[in-house]
Amino acid sequence: MTAIRLALRLGQWGLIGFAIVGFIATFINAVAFYAVAGHTQAEREAFAKSFSQIAAQLTVLLPPAMRLDTVGGYVQYRAYGSLVIVFSIWALASASGAARGNEERGLVEVILASGLSRVRALAAHVAAFAIASFVAALAASAGLMVGAIAGQESFPIGPAIEAAVLLAAIAVSCYSLVLLVAQLVAPRMATGIAGAVLLALFLLNSLSRTFDSLHTLRWLSPFRYYELSTPLPPGGNFDVTATLVLVGIAIVAGGLAALAFQKRDLGSALFALRASARPPTYEPSRALVWRIPIVRDVYDRRLGLATWAVGVSAIAALFVVLTKTIVQPLLSIPGLAAYFAAILHGPIYQSFLSSLWFGVAQLLMAGFAITQVGRWSAEDTDGRLDLILSNPVSRTRVVVERALVLALGALIIAAVSGVAVGLESHYQSIDLDGGRLAQASLMLVPFTLVFAAVGALLAARLPRATVGILGIFAFASYLMLQIGPLFKLPDWVQNLSAFKLYGQPLTEGIDRTGLAIMLAIVLVGFWTSAIVMQRRDVGA
């Protein structure tokens, strides 16, 4: 029990953060349902009919929707479709931290030295995450119930708890899978490879809804078992067997991870290449990159940057590949043609990519900014910033270099993914305006820097809480984009969202006002960060 309590203590901020995210996601969507679906049954059925037609074409990415005329059906589709991804990312971060991060910090060694067996130590982490994810999932269910009350309705507790069990089950199965992968590979690659495995399993299930050739393989994906249950809509189901399979995956993967953990050395992978014999080196590296400011930091991050560039480009190409598959059936629906004509501007595929792909790209770039800001915080807390500042380097220069390194990194990712979109569009015979594509890709750079500037300010003042607060800021910013039009919020409120400031450059060109506001935020954020940095104690 002590080990479980310690694991819970170490992950308490994750629990609190994801519980808040879960609650807000379901609450907002429940409230949004009452705002947009109408109040009479006829209005809601009409809403559900039009929404279902769109949802049916998006099954390549999202699970099919049902009973969108009810708050349960709407929240199941809108909130839980995203929450499963959010909870999987939590599982990835938490498990790779437990398996490798704690090991690098020496925490695992201390815990094992206390007499706890490796199996029990690992089991304690799984148990703690199961508790944490279930509590956070319950918070998500509570958000739905409170939202229903706000809409003058009540929501039954049984399906709400079933949804929580289901969400916790997929999260724990992802957690155990990451634990297993983390035992097998080198520590520095654990998070990246485990993330790629989860993404592949997610896409395997998602794409199998569209591509028949993947049907026979989708049983391999835990996400398949997750979506076999839809407990929230009236007439929905809770598939006990599928849920037990998720629990089984967690147990089997956790067991294999424990076995691998027992077999390997601390700090090493189970399958490690034997280092080739070589004479010791006493000379410093003479590579030119280490002598050039900015370049040396980009070079230091080259592996992560390459992973981001390739990953974002692959997802971008996938969206382009799917564009026609999704859009063409939608165009054949007479009612939607008028709808598209109203909301989309310019060529249809270009408009679709603008809304869907660049919407996702913004989320990914916000994620990139958060990971880089997380690194700044880590530099502060682990003493690396101390050593950097022990050189003749001013604190202002540190802030400026960080900004430029991040801008260069964002530019590389944006450029590579932009090229990927351009090439794949050409291959798919989708006519894209090259100039606009370049503008849309380049606009991702100031967009990323907005999050970086806010992060720099937080890292200068509250390094230990930076990642959590910045994550909430990104979530709130995205939420603002989603609910702003629904609740008819004033423009100035909607403009508080960086996602709104980005605009639709692929179809409408660069929104100069949005760009100016973003640049102002970036300048003020980093400038303030430099001032705060001057006045604070480093590493304190």
Binding site: T281, E283, S285, W290, S390
Partner: protein, 306 residues
């Protein structure tokens, strides 16, 4: 008169609840090796972090070669080589890349000197940082601090984790560096380390500097461990010995008495009152014993300041 290598005036960093550093007045001369001695939590690292401009003092000032440690921090760091108490994580970077990275920040390093120091400590710079043992991480810290031939070295507990052979090598490196004209300020809680290399020692306790002394002066502290052996059948004047001024830790075992004497021997000799002593031995205290005698938590601060 040459400008002091380090000069602090009422340097204070108050963390509340009595923690921190208070009213540190210290002068370290050029080409001096100064030991900053104190147990964990005494305020050594706080003082060093103030000197390095990492933290802002609540009160007072610190100067290095006449430059203000905060206002002129960049200029200060051109003159300083720093070794933190704990090396930060550099993950999968190789040792030679860490050297090149931090050397690149500094602008100039001497690759030949890096190679010389690395060879001296047998530090393989081709290995990844995460593969280094704690001793090797310390060695890398030494390379980073010394690699640009700084005028002043500020070293926070530099030998923790080094094996005795490498400790000896480190002491030789410190002596050579001093002879080459550099000043060295090192903190430690290992008294023998200070004995090995320092010209002067400052002892810090609960955030306050309680004594600055030449090494010889510390050795001359009047603390002696005495062993007295009485002739068989002699009645040992135990009560008188125990009550003698400056006599402590009295242990009587058969005809032998051991005790600690602070100050002069006169009260002890008077307490013997003519009893026949067949053997009397006095051990010169090591710095460790001096420190432990004066540095017990219950000892008044003034005791060592006398």
């Amino acid at each position: 008169m040459p400008v002091a290598a380090i000069q602090t005036s009422k340097l204070s960093k108050d963390y509340g609840l009595g923690h921190g550093l208070f009213d540190l007045d210290l002068t370290v001369s050029p080409q001096e090796v100064f030991g900053f001695l104190g147990p964990n939590g005494a305020g050594k690292s706080t003082a060093i972090r103030c000197l390095m401009g990492m933290i802002r003092p609540t009160f007072g000032s610190a100067h290095i070669f006449g430059l203000d440690c905060l206002r002129d921090s960049v200029a200060v760091k051109r003159k300083v080589g720093y070794m933190p108490g704990d090396m930060p994580q550099f993950g999968s970077l190789r040792g030679r890349e860490v050297v090149a990275y931090l050397g690149g920040l500094r602008g100039t390093i001497d690759p030949a000197l890096v190679q010389k120091i690395a060879e001296r400590f047998d530090l393989d710079l081709g290995r990844r940082f995460r593969e280094y043992s704690s001793g090797n991480k310390k060695k890398l810290g030494i390379v980073l601090a010394f690699m640009h031939k700084p005028d002043l070295l500020i070293l926070d507990e530099p030998t923790g984790g080094l094996d005795p052979l490498n400790q000896q090598e480190f002491y030789r490196l410190v002596n050579e560096t001093r002879e080459a004209g550099a000043t060295i300020f090192l903190s430690s809680h290992i008294l023998s380390e200070v004995e090995h290399v320092c010209d002067r020692v400052g002892i810090i306790r609960s955030g306050r500097l309680v004594k600055v002394a030449e090494l010889d002066e510390i050795h001359r502290f009047h603390v002696h461990r005495m062993e007295l052996e009485f002739a068989p059948g002699t009645e040992i004047p135990e009560a008188a010995i125990r009550s003698a001024a400056g006599v402590e830790d009295v242990v009587v075992e058969d005809s032998k008495v051991t005790c600690t004497v602070k100050g002069t021997f006169e009260p002890l000799l008077k307490a013997l009152n003519g009893a026949t002593v067949t053997n009397l031995a006095s051990h010169e205290p090591s710095l460790e014993e001096v420190f432990l005698t004066y540095y017990r938590p219950d000892a008044p601060t003034e005791a060592i300041a006398r």
